[in-house]
């Protein structure tokens, strides 16, 4: 894919992006275009800057240097409030608000004055594989997997065009993980651009179409998942994750 085609399909572009906290460099001069159709995975060992990169995309943090562009526009010039309507985010833990599932699902729509009937909310629950009777249930009584699915549905309630996910299945059982993965695949076919941070190579294989490989805050590789897993065997990939100097 040439660069012209890439810029027309990729929704984010990062130019020379750096991020530091208390003099510690988390991201080094990242130049990349992200968010073409399908699911993009961001992988790398712990502390490689994956989550930081994801948080830069919906302006939960701002780069110390460089520009992040969303649909060609510098996000520093886009109102954070407006930007976050179009870019949904699911964090590693669900962080549901106290109350019912309905309260959580309507949290975003109330901000944006989006009207939802109960039917619409049932559809949202159905998208994440939850039954209608969940709507009036208190979030305290839900399992970890159910809570994370409610968190996913809560992000979808704003009708985002991009969905960012930060290791959403880390603390979940296999069944919940499968449900969330199949939901994400379905959403991707509907045209929602999905960018997921994961540390699981198996999940990357199963789920992603493209991937970014980060290490020690540097972008090591951007390629398609097929190509990545064809080029390197599991042993080599594990070495990438372990050895500090393997670039």
């Amino acid at each position: 894919m040439n660069s012209l085609e890439e810029s027309s399909t990729n929704i984010f572009s990062l130019d020379n992006v750096c991020f530091t906290i208390e003099d510690k460099i988390i991201l080094h001069e990242i130049n990349v275009e992200i968010g073409s159709n399908g699911i993009t995975g961001i992988i790398g060992p712990s502390g490689s800057g994956k989550s930081t990169l994801l948080r830069l995309l919906n302006k939960l943090i701002s780069p110390c240097k460089g520009i992040v562009r969303f649909k060609g526009k510098d996000i520093a010039e886009i109102d954070s409030h407006e930007l976050r309507k179009e870019i949904g985010m699911v964090l590693q833990r669900p962080f549901l608000f106290k109350g019912t599932v309905k309260y959580n699902l309507l949290y975003g729509p109330k901000i944006w004055k989006i009207d939802y009937t109960d039917e619409g909310l049932y559809k949202l629950l159905d998208t994440v594989g939850l039954e209608d009777d969940f709507l009036e249930r208190n979030v305290d009584g839900l399992s970890g997997g159910e809570q994370q699915r409610v968190s996913l549905a809560r992000s979808l309630a704003n009708n985002p065009i991009v969905l960012l996910l930060d290791e959403p299945t880390t603390a979940l059982d296999i069944v919940s993980e499968e449900i969330i993965e199949s939901t994400l695949k379905r959403l991707a076919t509907k045209g929602i651009k999905i960018i997921i941070v994961t540390h699981s190579l198996e999940q990357t294989k199963r789920l992603t179409d493209q991937l970014l490989f980060l290490k020690e805050g540097r972008l090591i590789e951007k390629t398609t998942s097929k190509e990545f897993f064809k080029r390197y065997n599991d042993k080599e990939i594990h070495t990438f994750f372990k050895n500090k100097e393997s670039k």
Binding site: F95, R154, S155
Partner: protein
């Protein structure tokens, strides 16, 4: 002013009752020293020093208070209240050493206390009403005798509640960082994302005073009301006066905690509706330090307890 204070002190010292009281205090002091020697507490010199220092301080303070109570100039009364607010903010900033705490405390305590005190001081303009704070019967002016003690109560309450509010809000924001970020990620504003935390902090600050109001006359008999009744004011009048005072305290405390919280929590976020990572990290560190101090204290206590237990075991019965 100083010479007046000294003259007053000198005049008071001429009264025989004062010397009898001082002599009786000395008898008690000697008794205390005797007990201290008997119990081998080695507190004798400390007792004598504290007694002498305390006596001099309280005599000077009482004399100055006498002068302040006599003040009838409105601008001077405001300056005294202003200085009290300044010291309250300073005390708060020392107890809660967070960025801009002095300025925040000073602005919050001063604005709320001065607003409430002004409303109270000028309530006499209501036709046929003598005012919440009575005027001097001769000069028909406000006097320090009422304005300063009531002002000190209002300021002290505001100071305490604003401290509680800040501490609570800081801990809750750190604890709820994840859900606040989840709300921001959905497009919410920082203020709305922490609104429930602010509400909880107001409740924490105001509930003890509300409970005190609810138990008035049954559990608590406030000093002001008791003093007024002893001074000959009819009980109903004194009681109503006390209720008004409590409402003043609650209002100023509430306004102070709102101003403090709004100004303090703004520092947690940037204009881009993100967490201010530097500020957040500083607050997390201060919370960790607080935890560290608690941990250290419990460790010391545990060690002392263990040591005592060992000594007890060694001591032959």
């Amino acid at each position: 002013m100083v010479s007046q204070i000294l003259i007053d002190i000198w005049e008071s010292l001429k009264l025989p009752n004062i010397w009898i009281r001082i002599a009786l205090s000395f008898v008690l002091l000697i008794l205390l020293i005797g007990i201290s020697i008997w119990q081998k507490t080695k507190l004798e010199s400390k007792l004598i020093f504290s007694f002498l220092r305390g006596t001099i301080q309280v005599v000077l303070f009482g004399s100055i208070l006498g002068l302040i109570f006599g003040v009838q100039k409105l601008w001077l009364l405001y300056i005294i209240l202003f200085l009290m607010c300044l010291f309250a903010a300073f005390t708060n900033a020392r107890s809660y050493p967070y960025p801009r705490m002095f300025l925040i405390g000073f602005f919050a305590i001063t604005s709320s206390s001065i607003i409430i005190m002004t409303l109270v001081m000028f309530s006499f303009i209501i036709p046929g009403f003598e005012g919440i704070i009575p005027l001097d019967p001769v000069t028909l002016k406000l006097t320090g005798e009422y304005v300063i003690p009531i002002g000190s109560m209002v300021i002290a309450f505001a100071m305490r509640v604003s401290g509680i509010a800040v501490e609570r809000v800081k801990s809750d924001i750190i604890k709820s960082k994840g859900s606040i970020e989840a709300a921001l990620a959905l497009g919410d504003s920082p203020y709305r994302a922490i609104q429930h935390i602010l509400c909880e902090s107001y409740r924490a600050g105001l509930t003890p005073t509300i409970n005190r109001v609810a138990s008035l006359g049954i559990v608590t008999i406030p000093g002001l009301m008791a003093g007024m009744i002893i001074g000959g004011v009819p009980p109903v009048e004194a009681a109503i006066y006390q209720v008004v005072i409590f409402l003043m305290l609650l209002s100023s405390s509430f306004i102070t905690s709102i101003i403090t919280n709004v100004m303090f929590t703004r520092q947690f976020f940037t204009k881009k509706q993100q967490f201010n990572i530097d500020f957040l990290n500083r607050m997390v560190k201060s919370e960790d330090q607080k935890f560290g101090v608690l941990l250290k204290e419990s460790w010391i206590k545990w060690r002392e307890k263990r040591k005592r237990k060992k000594n007890d075991e060694k001591t032959p019965k």
